[in-house]
Protein backbone atom coordinates (compact mmCIF):
# COMPACT_ATOMS: atom_id res chain seq x y z
CA UNK A 1 0.00 0.00 0.00
CA UNK A 2 1.42 3.30 -1.02
CA UNK A 3 1.35 5.82 1.76
CA UNK A 4 0.73 9.44 1.08
CA UNK A 5 3.82 11.54 1.19
CA UNK A 6 3.96 15.19 2.10
CA UNK A 7 6.50 17.78 1.18
CA UNK A 8 7.79 19.44 4.34
CA UNK A 9 9.99 22.53 4.48
CA UNK A 10 12.69 21.38 6.89
CA UNK A 11 15.95 23.20 6.18
CA UNK A 12 15.52 26.95 6.17
CA UNK A 13 17.75 29.14 4.06
CA UNK A 14 20.33 29.97 6.80
CA UNK A 15 20.76 26.27 7.52
CA UNK A 16 21.38 25.43 3.87
CA UNK A 17 23.52 28.51 3.36
CA UNK A 18 25.80 27.76 6.32
CA UNK A 19 25.96 24.11 5.25
CA UNK A 20 27.40 24.99 1.86
CA UNK A 21 29.65 27.72 3.23
CA UNK A 22 30.96 25.18 5.73
CA UNK A 23 31.65 22.70 2.94
CA UNK A 24 33.54 25.27 0.87
CA UNK A 25 35.45 26.53 3.89
CA UNK A 26 36.38 23.07 5.16
CA UNK A 27 37.53 22.07 1.68
CA UNK A 28 39.64 25.21 1.34
CA UNK A 29 40.90 24.98 4.91
CA UNK A 30 41.83 21.31 4.58
CA UNK A 31 43.73 21.73 1.32
CA UNK A 32 45.53 24.90 2.39
CA UNK A 33 45.99 23.59 5.93
CA UNK A 34 47.55 20.40 4.63
CA UNK A 35 49.93 22.50 2.54
CA UNK A 36 50.83 24.68 5.52
CA UNK A 37 51.65 21.61 7.61
CA UNK A 38 53.45 19.87 4.79
CA UNK A 39 54.34 22.20 1.92
CA UNK A 40 54.30 19.75 -0.96
CA UNK A 41 54.75 22.31 -3.75
CA UNK A 42 58.28 23.62 -4.10
CA UNK A 43 58.60 27.14 -5.49
CA UNK A 44 61.00 27.47 -8.41
CA UNK A 45 61.73 31.12 -7.74
CA UNK A 46 62.03 33.29 -4.67
CA UNK A 47 59.71 35.72 -6.41
CA UNK A 48 56.82 33.33 -5.95
CA UNK A 49 54.53 33.66 -2.96
CA UNK A 50 53.02 30.20 -2.65
CA UNK A 51 53.02 29.78 1.12
CA UNK A 52 52.04 33.42 1.45
CA UNK A 53 48.92 33.04 -0.68
CA UNK A 54 48.05 29.63 0.78
CA UNK A 55 48.16 31.09 4.27
CA UNK A 56 46.13 34.07 3.10
CA UNK A 57 43.43 31.75 1.73
CA UNK A 58 43.56 29.68 4.91
CA UNK A 59 43.01 32.73 7.12
CA UNK A 60 40.24 34.20 4.95
CA UNK A 61 38.46 30.83 4.82
CA UNK A 62 38.91 30.56 8.58
CA UNK A 63 37.14 33.87 9.09
CA UNK A 64 34.36 32.85 6.68
CA UNK A 65 34.00 29.56 8.53
CA UNK A 66 33.82 31.32 11.89
CA UNK A 67 31.10 33.65 10.58
CA UNK A 68 29.17 30.71 9.15
CA UNK A 69 29.47 28.94 12.49
CA UNK A 70 28.19 32.00 14.33
CA UNK A 71 25.24 32.36 11.91
CA UNK A 72 24.32 28.72 12.51
CA UNK A 73 24.45 29.23 16.29
CA UNK A 74 22.28 32.33 15.95
CA UNK A 75 19.85 30.30 13.87
CA UNK A 76 19.77 27.74 16.65
CA UNK A 77 17.84 30.37 18.59
CA UNK A 78 15.87 31.96 15.75
CA UNK A 79 15.17 29.11 13.35
CA UNK A 80 12.44 26.49 13.13
CA UNK A 81 12.20 23.48 15.42
CA UNK A 82 14.54 21.39 13.28
CA UNK A 83 17.29 23.99 13.54
CA UNK A 84 16.59 24.91 17.16
CA UNK A 85 19.19 24.19 19.82
CA UNK A 86 16.53 22.20 21.72
CA UNK A 87 16.57 19.61 18.96
CA UNK A 88 20.25 19.07 19.82
CA UNK A 89 19.71 18.31 23.49
CA UNK A 90 21.65 15.06 23.88
CA UNK A 91 20.16 14.14 27.24
CA UNK A 92 17.02 12.39 26.09
CA UNK A 93 16.23 8.74 26.69
CA UNK A 94 14.25 8.59 23.46
CA UNK A 95 17.18 9.88 21.43
CA UNK A 96 19.48 7.32 22.98
CA UNK A 97 17.02 4.49 22.12
CA UNK A 98 16.63 5.88 18.61
CA UNK A 99 20.41 6.09 18.27
CA UNK A 100 20.68 2.37 19.06
CA UNK A 101 17.95 1.52 16.50
CA UNK A 102 19.51 3.67 13.80
CA UNK A 103 22.99 2.31 14.43
CA UNK A 104 21.67 -1.25 14.05
CA UNK A 105 20.02 -0.22 10.80
CA UNK A 106 23.17 1.48 9.47
CA UNK A 107 25.26 -1.55 10.33
CA UNK A 108 22.77 -3.70 8.38
CA UNK A 109 21.94 -5.64 11.52
CA UNK A 110 18.34 -4.63 11.07
CA UNK A 111 16.55 -4.74 7.76
CA UNK A 112 13.60 -2.56 8.61
CA UNK A 113 14.36 1.14 8.74
CA UNK A 114 13.39 2.22 12.27
CA UNK A 115 10.76 4.94 12.59
CA UNK A 116 13.48 7.19 13.94
CA UNK A 117 14.96 7.68 10.46
CA UNK A 118 11.61 8.71 9.05
CA UNK A 119 11.53 11.97 10.98
CA UNK A 120 11.50 15.29 9.18
CA UNK A 121 14.48 16.83 10.96
CA UNK A 122 17.80 15.30 12.01
CA UNK A 123 17.81 11.67 13.07
CA UNK A 124 19.00 10.89 16.60
CA UNK A 125 22.25 9.58 15.14
CA UNK A 126 22.76 12.84 13.26
CA UNK A 127 22.10 14.86 16.41
CA UNK A 128 24.92 13.14 18.29
CA UNK A 129 27.30 13.23 15.36
CA UNK A 130 26.62 16.93 14.72
CA UNK A 131 27.08 17.73 18.39
CA UNK A 132 30.47 16.06 18.17
CA UNK A 133 31.10 17.96 14.96
CA UNK A 134 30.28 21.27 16.65
CA UNK A 135 32.78 20.44 19.37
CA UNK A 136 35.40 19.67 16.71
CA UNK A 137 34.57 22.99 15.02
CA UNK A 138 35.03 24.85 18.30
CA UNK A 139 38.37 23.12 18.89
CA UNK A 140 39.51 23.90 15.33
CA UNK A 141 38.51 27.56 15.69
CA UNK A 142 40.15 27.97 19.11
CA UNK A 143 43.36 26.15 18.22
CA UNK A 144 43.47 28.01 14.91
CA UNK A 145 43.24 31.38 16.60
CA UNK A 146 45.71 30.24 19.26
CA UNK A 147 48.27 29.56 16.52
CA UNK A 148 47.32 32.79 14.76
CA UNK A 149 47.81 34.74 17.99
CA UNK A 150 51.50 33.81 17.94
CA UNK A 151 52.07 36.32 15.16
CA UNK A 152 49.28 38.72 16.11
CA UNK A 153 49.90 40.44 19.38
CA UNK A 154 47.29 42.00 21.61
CA UNK A 155 44.41 41.36 23.96
CA UNK A 156 41.92 40.61 21.19
CA UNK A 157 43.93 37.67 19.87
CA UNK A 158 44.57 36.49 23.42
CA UNK A 159 40.81 36.30 23.90
CA UNK A 160 40.16 34.68 20.52
CA UNK A 161 42.34 31.68 21.34
CA UNK A 162 45.73 32.91 22.53
CA UNK A 163 44.77 31.99 26.10
CA UNK A 164 44.99 28.34 25.06
CA UNK A 165 48.76 28.70 24.71
CA UNK A 166 49.12 28.97 28.47
CA UNK A 167 47.02 25.83 28.95
CA UNK A 168 48.35 23.45 26.29
CA UNK A 169 51.79 23.63 24.74
CA UNK A 170 51.86 25.07 21.26
CA UNK A 171 53.07 21.93 19.50
CA UNK A 172 50.15 19.91 20.85
CA UNK A 173 47.76 22.66 19.79
CA UNK A 174 49.26 22.35 16.31
CA UNK A 175 48.85 18.56 16.44
CA UNK A 176 45.18 18.70 17.47
CA UNK A 177 44.47 21.35 14.84
CA UNK A 178 46.00 19.01 12.28
CA UNK A 179 44.43 15.74 13.47
CA UNK A 180 40.90 17.16 13.57
CA UNK A 181 41.18 17.92 9.84
CA UNK A 182 41.30 14.15 9.27
CA UNK A 183 38.32 13.59 11.54
CA UNK A 184 36.41 16.14 9.46
CA UNK A 185 37.40 14.38 6.23
CA UNK A 186 36.27 11.03 7.68
CA UNK A 187 33.03 12.70 8.78
CA UNK A 188 32.42 14.11 5.29
CA UNK A 189 32.76 10.67 3.70
CA UNK A 190 30.29 9.12 6.18
CA UNK A 191 27.99 12.13 5.96
CA UNK A 192 27.58 11.93 2.19
CA UNK A 193 27.29 8.14 2.16
CA UNK A 194 24.65 7.98 4.90
CA UNK A 195 22.74 10.80 3.25
CA UNK A 196 22.75 8.92 -0.03
CA UNK A 197 21.89 5.62 1.72
CA UNK A 198 18.88 7.12 3.48
CA UNK A 199 17.82 8.90 0.32
CA UNK A 200 17.82 5.55 -1.50
CA UNK A 201 16.14 3.49 1.23
CA UNK A 202 13.63 6.05 2.38
CA UNK A 203 13.05 7.85 -0.90
CA UNK A 204 12.63 10.97 1.18
CA UNK A 205 14.56 13.34 -1.06
CA UNK A 206 17.23 13.75 1.60
CA UNK A 207 20.02 14.56 -0.84
CA UNK A 208 17.89 17.16 -2.57
CA UNK A 209 16.67 18.64 0.67
CA UNK A 210 19.96 20.36 1.40
CA UNK A 211 19.52 22.25 -1.88
CA UNK A 212 15.77 22.92 -1.74
CA UNK A 213 15.03 22.68 1.96
CA UNK A 214 12.17 20.20 1.39
CA UNK A 215 12.01 16.62 2.59
CA UNK A 216 9.33 14.08 1.73
CA UNK A 217 7.81 12.24 4.65
CA UNK A 218 5.03 9.67 4.83
CA UNK A 219 1.75 11.11 6.02
CA UNK A 220 1.53 9.32 9.34
CA UNK A 221 4.84 10.76 10.49
CA UNK A 222 3.60 14.30 10.20
CA UNK A 223 2.80 16.01 13.42
Amino acid sequence: MQQQRSRVYVWEFPVRFTHWINLLCILALSITGFYIGNPFIQAYSAKQYIMGWIRFIHFVAAYAFLMSFLIRIYWGFMGNKYANWRAFNPFSAKKIRDLADITMFYLLLKKEPPPAVKKEGHTACAIYVYLGLFILFVIEILTGFALYSQSHYGVFWKLMGGWLLSVINVQNIRLYHHLIMWFLIAFAILHVYIGWFLDKTEKNGLMGSIFSGYKFVTGKELE
Binding site: G37, Q48, L179
Partner: protein, 365 residues
Protein backbone atom coordinates in the same frame (compact mmCIF):
# COMPACT_ATOMS: atom_id res chain seq x y z
CA UNK B 1 91.45 41.47 44.15
CA UNK B 2 91.06 45.23 44.52
CA UNK B 3 93.00 47.50 42.22
CA UNK B 4 94.74 49.95 44.58
CA UNK B 5 93.93 53.17 42.77
CA UNK B 6 90.44 52.13 41.82
CA UNK B 7 88.66 54.84 43.76
CA UNK B 8 90.86 57.58 42.44
CA UNK B 9 90.34 56.68 38.83
CA UNK B 10 87.12 57.59 37.12
CA UNK B 11 85.17 54.99 35.18
CA UNK B 12 86.28 56.34 31.82
CA UNK B 13 89.94 56.37 32.80
CA UNK B 14 89.61 52.76 33.83
CA UNK B 15 88.10 51.92 30.47
CA UNK B 16 90.82 53.90 28.73
CA UNK B 17 93.43 51.88 30.59
CA UNK B 18 91.94 48.80 28.95
CA UNK B 19 92.01 50.39 25.55
CA UNK B 20 88.31 51.17 25.36
CA UNK B 21 87.61 54.67 24.08
CA UNK B 22 84.66 56.77 25.06
CA UNK B 23 83.41 56.32 21.52
CA UNK B 24 83.41 52.52 21.99
CA UNK B 25 81.63 52.96 25.27
CA UNK B 26 78.96 55.16 23.72
CA UNK B 27 78.54 52.64 20.91
CA UNK B 28 77.94 49.98 23.53
CA UNK B 29 75.39 52.18 25.31
CA UNK B 30 73.56 52.86 22.05
CA UNK B 31 73.54 49.16 21.26
CA UNK B 32 72.13 48.44 24.70
CA UNK B 33 69.40 51.05 24.18
CA UNK B 34 68.53 49.33 20.91
CA UNK B 35 68.54 45.87 22.53
CA UNK B 36 66.19 47.12 25.23
CA UNK B 37 63.93 48.66 22.56
CA UNK B 38 64.54 52.13 23.96
CA UNK B 39 64.86 55.29 21.84
CA UNK B 40 68.41 56.35 20.92
CA UNK B 41 68.05 59.30 23.30
CA UNK B 42 68.43 56.84 26.15
CA UNK B 43 72.02 56.02 25.24
CA UNK B 44 73.47 59.00 27.19
CA UNK B 45 71.28 58.12 30.17
CA UNK B 46 72.56 54.58 30.10
CA UNK B 47 76.13 55.87 29.86
CA UNK B 48 75.57 58.15 32.83
CA UNK B 49 74.00 55.38 34.89
CA UNK B 50 76.86 53.01 34.16
CA UNK B 51 79.49 55.64 34.94
CA UNK B 52 77.85 56.46 38.26
CA UNK B 53 76.90 52.94 39.25
CA UNK B 54 78.33 51.70 42.49
CA UNK B 55 79.46 48.29 41.28
CA UNK B 56 76.72 46.15 42.73
CA UNK B 57 77.85 42.73 43.86
CA UNK B 58 76.83 39.77 41.80
CA UNK B 59 76.72 36.17 42.90
CA UNK B 60 76.35 33.44 40.33
CA UNK B 61 74.83 30.20 41.60
CA UNK B 62 75.15 26.95 39.68
CA UNK B 63 72.96 23.93 40.38
CA UNK B 64 71.92 21.18 37.94
CA UNK B 65 73.59 22.75 34.95
CA UNK B 66 76.25 22.27 32.30
CA UNK B 67 77.86 25.71 32.79
CA UNK B 68 76.58 26.57 29.32
CA UNK B 69 75.31 29.92 30.50
CA UNK B 70 78.68 30.56 32.08
CA UNK B 71 80.24 29.81 28.70
CA UNK B 72 77.83 32.24 27.11
CA UNK B 73 78.65 34.82 29.80
CA UNK B 74 82.39 34.43 29.31
CA UNK B 75 82.01 34.99 25.61
CA UNK B 76 80.55 38.43 26.17
CA UNK B 77 82.69 40.95 24.41
CA UNK B 78 80.53 44.05 24.50
CA UNK B 79 81.56 44.94 27.09
CA UNK B 80 84.23 42.29 27.28
CA UNK B 81 83.86 39.92 30.17
CA UNK B 82 86.61 41.78 31.95
CA UNK B 83 84.61 44.99 31.84
CA UNK B 84 81.50 43.33 33.15
CA UNK B 85 83.36 41.54 35.87
CA UNK B 86 85.55 44.40 37.03
CA UNK B 87 83.75 47.58 36.15
CA UNK B 88 80.02 47.10 35.81
CA UNK B 89 79.63 44.42 38.41
CA UNK B 90 81.61 43.00 41.20
CA UNK B 91 81.35 39.26 40.75
CA UNK B 92 81.92 38.00 44.27
CA UNK B 93 80.93 34.38 43.82
CA UNK B 94 81.02 32.24 40.71
CA UNK B 95 81.99 28.62 41.22
CA UNK B 96 83.43 28.14 37.75
CA UNK B 97 85.60 31.22 37.45
CA UNK B 98 86.37 32.28 41.03
CA UNK B 99 89.84 31.88 42.54
CA UNK B 100 88.93 30.68 46.08
CA UNK B 101 87.80 27.14 46.71
CA UNK B 102 86.10 25.19 49.47
CA UNK B 103 85.30 27.03 52.67
CA UNK B 104 86.84 30.25 51.44
CA UNK B 105 84.55 30.22 48.45
CA UNK B 106 81.50 29.63 50.61
CA UNK B 107 82.64 32.44 52.86
CA UNK B 108 82.53 34.95 49.99
CA UNK B 109 78.95 33.97 49.34
CA UNK B 110 78.03 34.26 53.02
CA UNK B 111 79.71 37.65 53.24
CA UNK B 112 77.70 39.01 50.35
CA UNK B 113 74.41 37.66 51.67
CA UNK B 114 75.09 38.97 55.19
CA UNK B 115 76.71 42.30 54.49
CA UNK B 116 74.85 43.40 51.39
CA UNK B 117 71.35 42.22 52.11
CA UNK B 118 68.95 43.56 49.49
CA UNK B 119 71.73 45.19 47.48
CA UNK B 120 73.30 42.42 45.43
CA UNK B 121 72.22 40.69 42.23
CA UNK B 122 71.90 36.91 42.06
CA UNK B 123 72.23 34.97 38.83
CA UNK B 124 70.97 31.40 38.97
CA UNK B 125 72.07 28.84 36.44
CA UNK B 126 70.71 25.30 36.45
CA UNK B 127 67.65 23.55 37.80
CA UNK B 128 66.92 22.95 41.45
CA UNK B 129 66.10 19.35 42.40
CA UNK B 130 63.33 19.15 44.97
CA UNK B 131 62.75 15.40 45.32
CA UNK B 132 63.89 13.53 48.44
CA UNK B 133 64.66 16.70 50.35
CA UNK B 134 66.78 18.13 47.57
CA UNK B 135 69.65 15.65 48.05
CA UNK B 136 70.43 15.49 44.34
CA UNK B 137 72.32 18.77 44.34
CA UNK B 138 74.24 19.89 47.41
CA UNK B 139 77.03 22.44 47.67
CA UNK B 140 79.09 22.73 50.84
CA UNK B 141 76.67 20.41 52.57
CA UNK B 142 73.58 22.50 51.79
CA UNK B 143 70.91 21.61 49.31
CA UNK B 144 70.25 23.75 46.26
CA UNK B 145 66.76 24.52 47.59
CA UNK B 146 68.20 25.95 50.83
CA UNK B 147 70.86 27.97 49.03
CA UNK B 148 68.50 29.42 46.47
CA UNK B 149 65.95 30.35 49.13
CA UNK B 150 68.51 32.16 51.22
CA UNK B 151 70.57 33.81 48.49
CA UNK B 152 67.68 34.79 46.19
CA UNK B 153 65.49 35.75 49.11
CA UNK B 154 67.98 38.39 50.27
CA UNK B 155 68.96 39.70 46.85
CA UNK B 156 67.89 42.96 45.23
CA UNK B 157 67.06 41.00 42.10
CA UNK B 158 67.46 37.49 40.77
CA UNK B 159 68.18 36.69 37.15
CA UNK B 160 67.44 33.06 36.25
CA UNK B 161 69.58 32.28 33.21
CA UNK B 162 69.02 29.39 30.84
CA UNK B 163 66.11 27.02 30.40
CA UNK B 164 67.01 25.00 33.53
CA UNK B 165 66.80 27.87 35.99
CA UNK B 166 63.58 29.00 34.32
CA UNK B 167 61.37 25.91 34.31
CA UNK B 168 63.70 23.02 35.05
CA UNK B 169 64.96 22.61 31.49
CA UNK B 170 66.75 19.37 30.74
CA UNK B 171 66.91 17.99 34.30
CA UNK B 172 63.12 18.46 34.49
CA UNK B 173 62.50 16.70 31.17
CA UNK B 174 60.19 13.71 31.46
CA UNK B 175 60.40 11.63 33.67
CA UNK B 176 62.20 14.23 35.79
CA UNK B 177 63.84 11.79 38.23
CA UNK B 178 65.14 14.45 40.61
CA UNK B 179 62.00 16.60 40.73
CA UNK B 180 63.93 19.46 39.14
CA UNK B 181 62.27 22.86 39.10
CA UNK B 182 63.08 26.39 38.05
CA UNK B 183 63.71 29.26 40.44
CA UNK B 184 60.19 30.64 39.95
CA UNK B 185 58.68 27.40 41.23
CA UNK B 186 61.00 27.07 44.21
CA UNK B 187 61.07 30.55 45.76
CA UNK B 188 58.17 32.94 45.70
CA UNK B 189 57.97 36.62 46.48
CA UNK B 190 61.39 37.53 45.06
CA UNK B 191 62.25 40.05 42.37
CA UNK B 192 62.89 37.65 39.52
CA UNK B 193 63.48 37.82 35.81
CA UNK B 194 64.04 34.82 33.56
CA UNK B 195 66.30 34.55 30.55
CA UNK B 196 65.42 31.13 29.15
CA UNK B 197 67.28 29.61 26.27
CA UNK B 198 69.84 26.91 26.01
CA UNK B 199 71.94 28.83 26.85
CA UNK B 200 70.71 32.37 27.40
CA UNK B 201 72.13 35.01 25.13
CA UNK B 202 74.66 37.08 27.03
CA UNK B 203 73.59 40.24 25.27
CA UNK B 204 70.19 39.88 26.91
CA UNK B 205 71.84 39.35 30.30
CA UNK B 206 73.89 42.51 29.75
CA UNK B 207 70.69 44.27 28.70
CA UNK B 208 68.92 43.26 31.91
CA UNK B 209 71.88 44.40 34.04
CA UNK B 210 72.11 47.71 32.18
CA UNK B 211 68.37 48.23 32.61
CA UNK B 212 68.72 47.52 36.31
CA UNK B 213 71.59 50.01 36.64
CA UNK B 214 69.88 52.69 34.55
CA UNK B 215 66.33 52.52 35.90
CA UNK B 216 66.82 50.75 39.19
CA UNK B 217 64.26 48.15 38.15
CA UNK B 218 64.01 45.04 36.02
CA UNK B 219 62.60 45.40 32.49
CA UNK B 220 58.95 44.61 31.73
CA UNK B 221 58.18 40.92 31.39
CA UNK B 222 55.59 38.70 29.72
CA UNK B 223 53.33 36.29 31.62
CA UNK B 224 56.13 33.71 31.64
CA UNK B 225 58.49 36.09 33.42
CA UNK B 226 60.71 36.74 30.40
CA UNK B 227 61.75 40.29 29.47
CA UNK B 228 59.65 41.56 26.57
CA UNK B 229 62.59 43.28 24.89
CA UNK B 230 64.19 39.87 24.32
CA UNK B 231 61.24 37.45 24.19
CA UNK B 232 58.47 39.68 22.88
CA UNK B 233 58.62 38.69 19.24
CA UNK B 234 58.63 35.52 17.28
CA UNK B 235 61.81 34.19 15.66
CA UNK B 236 59.91 33.37 12.45
CA UNK B 237 58.85 37.00 12.01
CA UNK B 238 62.44 38.27 12.05
CA UNK B 239 64.10 35.35 10.33
CA UNK B 240 66.38 36.09 7.40
CA UNK B 241 65.00 32.98 5.64
CA UNK B 242 61.38 34.12 6.02
CA UNK B 243 61.16 35.18 2.37
CA UNK B 244 61.89 31.58 1.37
CA UNK B 245 59.10 30.42 3.65
CA UNK B 246 56.59 32.77 2.06
CA UNK B 247 57.79 31.94 -1.43
CA UNK B 248 57.53 28.20 -0.85
CA UNK B 249 61.23 27.27 -1.00
CA UNK B 250 62.08 24.62 1.56
CA UNK B 251 64.98 22.44 2.56
CA UNK B 252 63.69 18.87 2.17
CA UNK B 253 66.79 16.99 3.18
CA UNK B 254 70.03 17.90 4.89
CA UNK B 255 72.53 18.87 2.25
CA UNK B 256 70.07 19.15 -0.65
CA UNK B 257 70.13 22.03 -3.09
CA UNK B 258 67.75 24.09 -0.98
CA UNK B 259 69.93 23.60 2.07
CA UNK B 260 73.00 24.75 0.15
CA UNK B 261 71.07 27.77 -1.11
CA UNK B 262 69.93 28.74 2.37
CA UNK B 263 66.21 28.07 1.99
CA UNK B 264 63.66 27.84 4.78
CA UNK B 265 64.16 25.05 7.35
CA UNK B 266 60.43 24.73 8.13
CA UNK B 267 60.19 21.22 6.67
CA UNK B 268 63.21 20.15 8.71
CA UNK B 269 61.27 20.84 11.90
CA UNK B 270 62.46 24.39 12.60
CA UNK B 271 60.59 25.70 15.65
CA UNK B 272 61.08 29.34 14.70
CA UNK B 273 57.34 29.72 14.04
CA UNK B 274 56.52 28.95 17.68
CA UNK B 275 59.50 30.36 19.55
CA UNK B 276 59.86 33.84 20.97
CA UNK B 277 63.35 35.24 21.26
CA UNK B 278 65.49 37.88 19.61
CA UNK B 279 68.10 35.50 18.14
CA UNK B 280 67.60 36.62 14.51
CA UNK B 281 68.23 40.24 15.50
CA UNK B 282 71.05 40.10 18.04
CA UNK B 283 72.46 36.71 17.00
CA UNK B 284 75.17 34.88 18.95
CA UNK B 285 78.89 35.10 19.60
CA UNK B 286 79.11 38.82 18.92
CA UNK B 287 76.45 38.67 16.24
CA UNK B 288 78.58 36.28 14.20
CA UNK B 289 75.74 33.94 13.37
CA UNK B 290 72.84 32.02 14.85
CA UNK B 291 71.44 28.48 14.41
CA UNK B 292 69.13 29.17 11.46
CA UNK B 293 71.78 31.31 9.80
CA UNK B 294 74.17 28.38 9.92
CA UNK B 295 71.63 25.99 8.39
CA UNK B 296 70.05 24.29 11.39
CA UNK B 297 66.46 24.80 12.45
CA UNK B 298 65.51 26.44 15.72
CA UNK B 299 64.82 23.89 18.48
CA UNK B 300 62.67 26.26 20.50
CA UNK B 301 64.98 26.31 23.52
CA UNK B 302 63.34 29.44 24.93
CA UNK B 303 59.91 27.76 24.99
CA UNK B 304 58.40 26.27 28.13
CA UNK B 305 59.66 22.72 28.89
CA UNK B 306 61.30 22.68 25.48
CA UNK B 307 62.90 19.29 25.84
CA UNK B 308 59.46 17.69 26.13
CA UNK B 309 57.32 20.05 24.08
CA UNK B 310 59.54 20.97 21.13
CA UNK B 311 60.67 17.42 20.31
CA UNK B 312 61.03 15.79 17.85
CA UNK B 313 63.32 18.62 16.83
CA UNK B 314 63.43 17.55 13.18
CA UNK B 315 59.71 17.14 12.62
CA UNK B 316 56.98 19.72 12.31
CA UNK B 317 54.47 17.95 14.50
CA UNK B 318 54.90 16.08 17.77
CA UNK B 319 54.35 12.35 18.00
CA UNK B 320 50.81 11.15 18.50
CA UNK B 321 50.71 9.50 21.93
CA UNK B 322 50.25 5.74 21.82
CA UNK B 323 51.11 5.30 18.14
CA UNK B 324 54.83 4.65 18.31
CA UNK B 325 57.69 6.74 17.10
CA UNK B 326 57.22 6.50 13.35
CA UNK B 327 53.53 7.34 13.22
CA UNK B 328 52.88 10.89 12.18
CA UNK B 329 49.59 12.70 12.45
CA UNK B 330 49.16 12.46 8.69
CA UNK B 331 49.69 8.72 8.55
CA UNK B 332 47.10 8.23 11.30
CA UNK B 333 44.72 10.67 9.66
CA UNK B 334 45.10 9.05 6.28
CA UNK B 335 44.48 5.68 7.92
CA UNK B 336 41.36 7.07 9.56
CA UNK B 337 40.02 8.39 6.27
CA UNK B 338 40.91 5.11 4.55
CA UNK B 339 39.13 3.06 7.22
CA UNK B 340 36.08 5.27 6.84
CA UNK B 341 36.09 4.91 3.06
CA UNK B 342 36.62 1.14 3.36
CA UNK B 343 33.75 0.98 5.84
CA UNK B 344 31.51 2.81 3.43
CA UNK B 345 32.44 0.52 0.54
CA UNK B 346 31.96 -2.59 2.71
CA UNK B 347 28.59 -1.27 3.81
CA UNK B 348 27.53 -0.72 0.21
CA UNK B 349 28.66 -4.21 -0.85
CA UNK B 350 27.05 -5.84 2.18
CA UNK B 351 23.83 -4.10 1.39
CA UNK B 352 23.91 -5.25 -2.24
CA UNK B 353 24.74 -8.84 -1.23
CA UNK B 354 22.11 -8.99 1.48
CA UNK B 355 19.44 -8.77 -1.17
CA UNK B 356 18.37 -5.18 -0.93
CA UNK B 357 16.89 -5.45 2.50
CA UNK B 358 15.47 -1.99 2.72
CA UNK B 359 13.64 -2.31 -0.62
CA UNK B 360 12.00 -5.46 0.60
CA UNK B 361 10.95 -3.52 3.61
CA UNK B 362 9.36 -0.96 1.40
CA UNK B 363 7.40 -3.58 -0.56
CA UNK B 364 5.77 -4.69 2.64
CA UNK B 365 4.44 -1.24 3.23
Amino acid sequence: MKIPDEKELGFMEKLAQKGISRRDFMKFCTMMAATLALPASFAPKIAEAIEKSKRPSLVWLEFQDCAGNTESFLRASKPTVVEIVLNLLSVDYHETIMAPAGKQAEKSLDDVVKNQKGKYITVVEGAIPTKDGGVYCCIGGRSAVDIVKEVCGNAMATIAVGACAWDGGWPAASPNPTGAKGVKDVVSGITLINLPGCPMNVQNLTGVVVHLLTFGALPATDELGRPLFAYGERIHDHCERRAHFDAGQYVRQWGDEGHRLGWCLYEMGCKGPETFQNCPTIRWNDATNWPVGSGHGCIGCASPRFWDTMTPFYRRLPKVPGFGVEATADKIGLGLAAVTAAGVVAHGIARAVKGKGPEQGEKKE
